[in-house]
Every structure is written in C-alpha cells, then in structure tokens.
C-alpha cells in the first residue's frame, strides 16, 4: 500500500478497509463481525491521496479520494456491488474526509482546497450539492466524524501546526477552536551542530537517498514511482519557491511517506548573504513548506550549491537545523549536455557505496537538454546497492 488506510464501521458489525495500492488504485478488504477478514480487492481508479470512507447503512460503504485531476471522486457499495467511480469536482492536493451524521441520510465531505481553506460538500444517495467554502487556512487534509446530538466534528491543522476543531450541531457550525497549542520541537543535539554532515556515522550498511528540488519537478513522477515500487523512503530537500510553484508535487512527497528537509527559500549561495538574510532564507522556506504540505522541515537543512562556511553554518544551527551535505553527488543534474550518462550516474553512486552513504540527486531536469538522469538511473542504483547488501534509510537516521 502507498498511503494511509481508511476504515468505515457499519452498524451490522462489518468494518470496511480501504487503501491506495502501489499503482495508485484503490484496494478494499472487509472484516466480518466474527473477525474474519477478506483478501484485498481492487476497485480501480488513480488516486493521489489516501481515501476517506463512511458506512451509513448495513451492507453499504462509500469511499472518497482525490484523483490525478485533483478532484474528489466517489465509489459506493450496496448489497455487495460497487457503483464505480464518479467525479464530485473540487480541487485538492490533500486527502479528503467524510462523515455521516447518525440518523441522517446525508454524507458530509470535507477537503482542503487548493486555496488551503476548508471546503464541504453534502450529499445523499450519491447526489451532492456542490462545494461550499468553510474558510480557515489548513496545512494538510482534514478529519471528520459523525457525533451524537446529532452532529459532527472536524479537526484540522492550522498554520501554527496546532490542531483546531469545529462542531456542527443543530444545523450550524461553531467557529474553529484550537484544541491544544503545539509545543516547539526539541532542539537538535549539540553533537550534530557545527558540522555539515557528509555521511551518517553508522557501521550498518545503509544508504540515504536524497533529492534536492529547486528548479522544476520533471523527474519527480518517475522518482516517486520507482521509490514506491521498490519500497524505499527518501529525503527530499525542498526550497520555498519550489513548493510554491509545485504544490501538488510537494503534497505528493509527503503523502507518499518521504521525509522533507529545508533547502532555503530561493537557492542563493549563503556565504554571500548577511546573517539576517540567511535566517530569512531558512525561516521563509520553513514557513512555505509547512503551508504547502504540512511538513516541518526541521531539523534537516542542505545548503544551496553546497556553499557553506562556519558563519552561515552557525546561523543555520541557530534556526534549529542540522546541516546535511552528501557523500557523493551523482552529477545527474549536469545532464547529457554536461557529458553525463545514466550509466555514469549509476557507476558514481555505486562506487561510493559505504555504510552511512548520503547520495545527492535532483528532482529537476537539466535546463539545457531536459534530461532527468537521476530519475532514469534510480532503479539501477537501488538494485545495485541492494545487491551489495545495503538497505535504505532517511536522514532521521542521522538526527535521531
């Protein structure tokens, strides 16, 4: 499976489970009241998010997810027969949520719109009234659940990373209330400061694949597909400008379970910047990434162009970040116009294989020739490292 599952409990005791498979299609399984679980069955579709599901009546279930067109889609089952996917419109990069108010015949859908606000669409028997804006500024997908009274609650994460909730009772919504103020993450361990790390200091045969994003996203679909197919999690260093330019892709990286680090706001070489400018670059990117896909990029930072000295390293550390360089640069970013080939990229990475190796690759294409050599080389790199006995980690193996 390639995304978080969704469950819907029916009043007859059945539990319906849904998850996105490796190829992006929806899979479902059912648990009977006696605990017997069916195998997974494919329901088709091409999903970009986790699903949401409800069951409003015995023997029925409804499931919702965003498709590759970023619209929300619906499939429903009654009497063991699935209706097939129907498009409900809207535009989202995040997983939707669904709630059914006990005793009602309405399903309430919620989604974080591409404007980052919360939207609702209410339907009955598959007929939906259209999306209505509820407002707010969300950093990732909402959650929703039916409640006694009757009513329902929604929970979202706001730009302060806190969880906010709102309730629907007697036909009207409350405002949002912050459920609790989120504590700041712990500062990095002092042993991690003052160094631009070039490998993870471990003896185990593990490698961290890292991808920098600063130009475009041309290689990302292939890279994501390869990582999913081979069951590898990676670390992506994103710039603030990149997540603003490619919000769908920025959300895809998080929803596929990868780790996100900070690569500055606009990819300037840091040694030419003042301390204040360095801090603005780091914190600006942190906020941009958080608002784009809900990821807290702390504590991972990579200097643009690898340009570092002790002063800017200290600046970055003071902002709560550990600087991470690389063991080997694949040089795929140079493209064929720079004399590189897929095989040369593979050979360079495999030749540098060592415990704790950090591999630098890029998401974007070479601006001159349009090639994405890192994406093309990735399957062979993963296979080659595995053949040499290496496993894969993300950079939290460094920061703990």
């Amino acid at each position: 499976m390639s995304a978080s599952p969704a469950l819907a409990g029916a009043s007859d005791g059945r539990v319906y489970a849904f998850s996105r498979g490796l190829a992006g299609s929806l899979q479902t399984a059912t648990m009977a009241p006696d605990g017997a679980v069916t195998g997974w069955t494919g329901l088709g579709g091409r999903l970009i998010t986790s699903p949401a599901a409800v069951s409003a009546a015995p023997g029925s279930a409804e499931v919702y997810a965003a498709g590759t067109d970023h619209a929300v889609w619906r499939d429903a089952m009654s009497g063991g027969r699935w209706s097939g996917w129907t498009r409900l419109g809207g535009a989202t990069y995040s997983a939707p949520a669904a709630a059914w108010i006990p005793g009602s015949n309405s399903t309430h859908l919620f989604a974080r719109g591409t404007d980052n606000a919360l939207w609702e669409n209410t339907g009955s028997a598959g007929a939906f009234g259209g999306w209505q804006k509820l407002g707010g500024v969300l950093i990732d997908g909402p959650a929703a659940a039916g409640a006694p009274a009757p009513g329902m609650d929604v929970a979202v994460r706001g730009t302060d990373t806190a969880v906010w909730t709102a309730s629907y009772r007697s036909g009207r919504w409350s405002g949002f209330t912050r459920a609790w103020a989120a504590a700041a993450p712990a500062a990095p361990a002092s042993r991690l400061l003052g160094t631009d790390w070039t490998r993870i200091p471990v003896g185990a045969k593990v490698v961290a694949l890292t991808f920098d994003a600063g130009s475009n996203a041309a290689g990302l679909p292939s890279i994501e597909s390869t990582l999913q197919a081979k069951g590898v999690r990676a670390t992506f260093f994103l710039t603030g400008n990149w997540v603003r330019g490619f919000p769908a892709q920025a959300n895809m990286i998080v929803q596929d379970g990868h780790l996100v680090g900070n690569h500055s706001m606009s990819h300037l070489s840091f040694t030419g910047l003042s301390d204040a400018q360095v801090t603005a670059q780091v914190q600006g990117a942190q906020q941009a990434i958080l608002r784009a896909n809900g990821a807290d990029s702390r504590p991972l930072f990579r200097f643009p162009n690898g340009d570092v000295n002790n002063r800017v390293l200290a600046d970055v550390n003071r902002s709560g970040y550990v600087a991470v360089r690389w063991t080997v640069d694949s040089l795929g970013w140079k493209g064929t116009s720079g004399g590189q080939t897929i095989q040369a990229v593979v050979n360079r990475v495999l030749a540098a294989a060592q415990p704790g190796e950090i591999v630098l690759m890029h998401l974007g294409s070479n601006p001159k020739d349009g090639t994405t050599l890192d994406a093309a080389a990735l399957p062979t790199i993963i296979d080659g490292l595995r053949a040499r006995g290496y496993g894969f980690v993300t950079l939290d193996a460094l920061t703990g």
């Binding site: 929970a155 969880v163 906010w164 209330t177 609790w180 809900g294």
Partner: protein, 88 residues
Amino acid sequence: MSSLQSSSYRKTSILAACVVAGAFGVGVMPAASGTALAAVTPNQAARSAVALAIDPAGTGYAFFRGGDDAVYLRTVPAARTVPCGSAR
C-alpha cells in the same frame, strides 16, 4: 510507523486523560511502548494530518503522528459552543 499499544493500555490512558481533562483533553500518550507511560513532550505537536473518531458519549479522539514518529492519541471533549469567526 509504530503500532498502537494494547487496547487495555489505551483504555486506561484514555480514562486517565478524561479525569484530568480541562477545557480540552490532555490525554497525550506515546504509542511505541506497551509497558509504561514514558515521559513525553507536553502538547506534543502533530507532524501529520489528524484522524478523528467520536464515541457515543460525544468525546472525540484525535490520532496523529508525533515528533518521534509514534502514534499519539488525545481526547477532544464534546459539546462546545464557540462563536463563529474565531480567529485562527
């Protein structure tokens, strides 16, 4: 991702959280260990989207991934009346 703890431990923690809950629940608990309630950061920040469930009494349960990648559960009491337009 860490799995949740045994149901008995979870239930105990939820009840304890309800007892001490104030305006909002305080039932933060780590999910990585099934044997002891480890010291955790108060008001653990969620590093993932939240999953929400509500029991028949109206108490909400928010599940999320914490800073250490463990799954956390926090209670969210029911029956709030908040004016529309609260600042966010």
